[in-house]
């Protein structure tokens, strides 16, 4: 198993907390924050819907794991793991000029020659984003343990150990 030996990792939850399943990345992050302890080489960041404010994370870290809602046109609740260049290829919309989202942050990081060894995104197809609410839809809430397990297993494969905080 690879060891984390001092390399820096960030776990980044993304999304809008006010828009139901749109906020699943932040919900997952908060769950993990509350239920697990992490070694000090990993930083947990609630990125919300920020853009370039997240760019320094790509300069300062060796590995980046993002969790976000993604419109893949797939079955709601399905989890897709994208790695490195796949993220840009899959998510780049032929959209407007130079307005930013996480894909622009990624490509700006490239332009600036920030070279994290590994960038992974866990994308979750939402069930519902139409309601203005701070709660996930019940279906997504039920899916959350699977999202968290996916994130933990990726961290584990990077040699980052976590331990569940016992209820007692």
């Amino acid at each position: 198993m690879p060891s984390s030996n001092g390399s820096k990792t960030v776990l980044l939850g993304l999304g809008n907390l006010l828009m139901e399943d749109e906020g699943v990345g932040v919900h997952a992050l908060r769950w993990m924050e509350a239920a697990y302890t992490f070694e000090p080489t990993i930083q947990l960041v609630d990125g919300g819907t920020a853009g370039f404010e997240l760019l320094p994370l790509f300069e300062d870290n060796d590995r980046i794991l993002m969790i976000d809602a993604v419109e893949f046109g797939k079955e709601p609740g399905s989890i897709t793991v994208l790695e490195d260049d796949q993220i840009l290829t899959e998510l780049t919309q032929k959209m407007s000029l130079h307005h930013l989202g996480i894909t622009d942050v990624l490509s700006s990081a490239k332009l600036l020659e920030y070279c994290p060894q590994k960038v992974v995104m866990i994308g979750i197809q939402p069930f519902a984003i139409d309601n203005v609410t701070m709660d996930l839809s019940p279906d997504m809430q039920a899916r959350l343990p699977k999202v968290v397990a996916t994130a933990l297993s990726i961290l584990e494969s990077w040699g980052i150990h976590t331990s569940a905080i016992s209820a007692s």
Binding site: T49, F52, V70
Partner: protein, 566 residues
């Protein structure tokens, strides 16, 4: 024959904006601005503790988290008539000034410069000639041939990699792109450097706000920062020194790079100065209070009707009734139930979607009005307001920018040129210069006050029985932001946010008068209907950002421009 051009979405952030233009003989005849997502965030606040509202409101928008937090605590403090300690006011000032500098740098370089700067053309530039051009304008240390050559190599590598990423959708080689290769290389080089400086500005926000993107240090009644010069966990000497270092680096960049690039782009595109005027009722508000109550301000604001600078009426305090009484919103052309024009305290938010109807309802954005007219908000309104109120910095930097543009363009460019697409960029740059001064002045005042032994940062709020209401405004990077709250027995009864992009992106109002985006597009040239770069230039000059921040990723590739015959 007239054609309809639809650009949808114009921005990929903050809820989607769609722009429709009818174009005839290469010019825009009529335009519509439509918000394509419902921003009914306010109902989520009903019934909550007003002390918590700012934590929720800073999630309204992904770009302007800080500004919604500030406007929210100000609204609740206004309802309670609660004065906050001077230190708290100064710490808030520094956070919002630094945030504003960050935001303006990002807007100019990363969100809109590529409407004017052709990155691919920069590959053809001669680095030595670029250095000569850059040195004639500024003594910035990186303006040398070796640095420009390195930048060119990096761009070349990036372009050759085939993964253009952030540049992928640029209109390279478009006939409206006019800069010579050397000017393009100079601007592209500063585009890269600007990444570092927006970060430095944001570090100041992070030091004082404990965290970004979502600051943690606000409280109704002040800030949660403790001040103890010898304690690691509080605002201390080391943190203040760090802020001072960041400030001096920022100063050089905004004075020697941003101001100069703005002038170069303005001068080399002087033929664009006549375009994009639009609505010339300008609204701005005073900000950066230097007392606990909000009566003395470092920047001023007010209302200018119909571009008549001699009829400027100043807004003077956080309690100003001229502002409070004259803001309304109309839903005649918006997807809400009914046809009313109401004051924010009295509004309700009941969605009713129809499809896009040119002459009826076509947007999720409401149409705000001031004195029953549409108003343009943003740095241009703010700089004009400060200028007319006699703000020294506003006068100095405005003339500095205009003189530099005039000297490069070799023609006299006066203050009247500011009523334009490029004028909005110029004003944003002038405002950035002022924000640096504000940051510096607030810093010095904070250090001075602490050295007098004043460490207070918080006055506890007390909520009365019965109903109270209040409003809080903030001159945010995109213009006037106001939050309106009605509190009953200590709980929120009604909450409305009237946001800057609503003022500018609003649809036609109760009298069918177009909003600022819509009016500013009329008369714009369009050289190539399939690539309406000129439309984007004008819309981007407002720094569009629709305030609901849905940002769900979409892997569907989608054309953004559609053209059809009418």
């Amino acid at each position: 024959m007239a054609k309809r051009i639809i650009v949808d979405p114009v921005t990929r952030i903050e809820g989607h904006l769609r722009i429709d233009c009818d174009v005839k003989n290469g010019k825009v005849e009529k335009a519509w601005s439509s918000g394509q997502m419902w921003r009914g965030i306010e109902p989520i606040l009903t019934g909550r503790d007003p002390r918590d509202a700012w934590i929720f409101t800073q999630r309204i928008c992904g770009v302007c988290t800080t500004v919604h937090a500030i406007a929210s605590v100000r609204a609740v403090e206004n309802a309670l008539d609660l004065e906050i300690p001077l230190n708290a006011q100064l710490i808030r000032n520094m956070i919002i000034a630094a945030h504003g500098i960050h935001d303006h740098i990002v807007h100019f370089y990363h969100l809109s410069a590529l409407d004017w700067v052709d990155v691919v053309s920069a590959l053809k530039a001669d680095p030595k000639a670029t250095a000569k051009l850059a040195n004639s304008l500024s003594d910035w240390p990186n303006n040398n041939a070796i640095h420009f050559k390195q930048v060119q190599n990096r761009l070349q590598k990036f372009v050759e990699s085939g993964q253009l990423g952030i540049f992928a959708n640029g209109y390279w080689g478009h006939p409206a792109m006019k800069l010579p290769p050397e000017a393009n290389l100079m601007a592209a080089s500063h585009y890269l450097e600007a990444f570092d400086y927006q970060r430095k500005a944001n570090q100041i926000v992070a030091i004082l706000g404990s965290k970004t993107p979502h600051i943690q240090n606000l409280a109704v009644g002040g800030v949660a920062n403790a001040i103890n010069l010898d304690n690691q966990a509080t605002i201390n000497m080391e943190k203040l020194m760090h802020i001072q270092t960041l400030m001096s680096e920022l100063k050089d960049f905004v004075r020697k790079v941003y101001l100069v690039d703005l002038a170069a782009v303005g001068a080399l595109y002087a033929h664009w100065l006549p375009y994009g005027k639009g609505v010339t009722n300008y609204l701005s508000v005073p900000d950066f209070p230097m007392d606990g109550k909000g009566t003395q301000f470092l920047t001023q604001g007010g209302y200018i009707p119909d571009g008549k600078l001699d009829q400027f009426k100043q807004i003077n305090s956080f309690n100003d009734s001229f502002f409070e009484d004259n803001v309304k919103e109309s839903i005649k052309h918006s997807w809400y139930d009914g046809d009313w024009t109401k004051h924010p305290y009295k509004e309700e938010t009941v969605p009713k979607y129809t499809d896009f109807q040119d002459d009826a309802k076509y947007s999720w954005v409401k149409a705000p009005t001031f004195l029953d007219k549409p108003a343009q908000v943003g740095p241009l309104a703010n700089v004009l307001g400060m200028y007319l109120a006699g703000h020294e910095g506003a006068k100095t930097y405005t003339h500095m920018a205009l003189d530099l543009i005039s000297s490069v363009a070799k023609t006299k460019v006066g203050i009247g040129a500011l009523h334009s697409t490029l004028g909005r960029h110029a004003a944003r740059c002038v405002r950035t210069q002022i924000l640096y001064d504000v940051l510096n002045e607030s810093y010095n005042a904070l250090v001075g006050n602490i050295s007098k032994g004043d460490f207070d940062t918080f006055n506890a709020p007390v909520f009365p029985k019965g109903e109270v209401s209040g409003f809080g405004f903030h001159e945010a990077p995109r213009g006037v932001l106001s939050h309106w709250v009605v509190i009953e027995n200590g709980k929120i009864k009604n909450y409305q946010a009237v946001v800057p992009s609503t003022w500018n992106a609003g649809p036609r109002n109760q009298n069918d008068e177009p909003g600022p985006y819509e009016a500013s597009l009329v008369g714009n040239p369009v050289a190539d209907e399939e690539k309406p770069l000129e439309i984007l230039r004008t819309v981007h000059s407002f720094d569009p950002c629709l305030a609901c921040a849905i940002h769900l990723h979409n892997n569907q590739r989608k054309e953004i421009v559609t053209v059809h015959a009418l």
